[in-house]
Amino acid sequence: MSAHAETLHDHHGPPEANQSSRVDARTLGMLLFIGSEIMLFGSFFAAYFFVRVVNPSAPAEWPPPPYEFPVFVAGVNTAILVTSSFTMHWALQSIKRGQRAGFLAGMVLTFLMGLAFLITQVVEYLNVGFNTGDGAFASVFFGLTGLHGAHVAVGLSLLLMVIIRGFRGHFSPEHHQGVELPGIYWHFVDVMWIVVYATVYLI
C-alpha cells in the first residue's frame, strides 16, 4: 500500500465545476432557458386571453371590426417556418451521418427560411392597418407576435453562428452539440409560433 492522501480542493486555479450527472450541462442550460421562455410566453398569453375572454368589455368579434388579421399571409409564413424545422432536422441528421454537404445545405436553407419569415412579418406589420395605439387587441397582437419575432431573430443569430462554424469545418458525427442546441431552440420557436398562430389568427 502506498501513502497518498490528497483532497481535490488543494489544486490551484479555479475550482472544478460541479458535475451534473444525467443531463449534459449545455443541454441542461438550454432546457432551463426554454423553461424560462415558456413562462415568458405564458405571461403574454395570459394578457391575450384576458383581453379577449376575461375582460368584460372584450370585443364580440376577433379582431374587432373594421380590423382584420392577414390570416393567409401569416399562414404562408407559418408554412415557411414549419418547413425550416424540417430542414433543421435534416441538417442535424446529415452531420450525424457525416454528410457535410447536406448539413450545410440544411443549415443555409433553415436560415433563409427563418429570414424570410422575419421579413414577411415586418412587411405584415407595415401593412396590417392598425398600430399599438388602436386598442388592447392591437397591443396584445403586436406584443405576442413581436415577442415571437424577437425569438426568431435570436434563433437566426444562433443559426448564423452554426453556419459560419460549419463552413470553417467545425462539427462532425462525433461532435455536433453546437448544432443540436440551436436545433432544439429553433423547434421551440416553431412550437410557440404554432400556438401563437392558432390562437391569435385562427381561433
Binding site: 500500500m1 502506498s2 501513502a3 497518498h4 492522501a5 490528497e6 483532497t7 481535490l8 480542493h9 460541479n18 458535475q19 450527472s21 444525467r22 443531463v23 443541454t27 438550454m30 432546457l31 426554454i34 414549419v82 424545422s85 433543421m88 432536422h89 442535424l92 448544432v179 443540436e180 436545433g183 432544439i184 423547434h187 421551440f188 416553431d190 412550437v191 404554432i194 400556438v195 392558432a198 385562427l202 381561433i203
Partner: protein, 211 residues
Amino acid sequence: MENPFRSEAAAFRFLLITIGAFALIVVASLISTTLGIVVWLLLSGAAVWVYLSQRGAAPEREHVEHVGGPDEYRVLVVANETLGGDELLSAISTLALTKTARFLVVCPALNSRLKTWMSDEDPARAVAQDRLDATLARLASVEIDVRGEVGDSDPLVAIEDAMRTFHPDEVVISTHPPGKSNWLESGMVDAVRVRFDVPVTHVVVDGQDEA
C-alpha cells in the same frame, strides 16, 4: 415523462405533435366554439395521461467500467456524519489489507432544501470538508492510498458523479443505523444497488454524533 426538448430529434417530434394537436383544435373551433373547447380539453387530458403513464420509469442499470491495472481495485466510500466512525474505518482497513485498493472518499455536503434552493452551500461544504480532512489524515497515517472530495448535497448525485470520474469496483456506503438514518429512510443504498452494477457494501456506524 421525458423532456420533449431533451434533444433536437425529440423537439422535432414534439413540434409535429403540436402541429397535429392545434390543427384539430382549430378545425373543431371553426365548426363550433364548444367543440373546440371539448377537443382542447380532450387533448389536454390525453397529454396529462401520457405524462402520468410515462412518469417514474426506472432508469436503466448502468455498467461501471473497470479502469486501471488488472490488480487495481477501486473503492468508493460515501459517508457524511459517520465518516470518522470506527466501523467504517475498520471496513476500509480490511479492504486495504486484502487488496491493492485505491480509495475515493466522497462526503456529500448535506444541506437543508431551503439553503440549497438559496444557493447557501458554503457552510455545508465547509463542514463536509472538515470531516473529510480529518478522515483522510487518519487513513493516510496508516498508509492507505486514499483521496477525497466533497460531493453534491444529494448523495445519489454525488455517487453518480464519482462513478463517472472514478469508476469504482466497489462502493462502501456508511450510514447511521436504521431508524436514525435519513439515507436509509429515503432508500438511497438500495437505489445505488439498483442503478449501478457495482457491489455495494453497507456499513452501519452507531454512536456518531449528529451534525
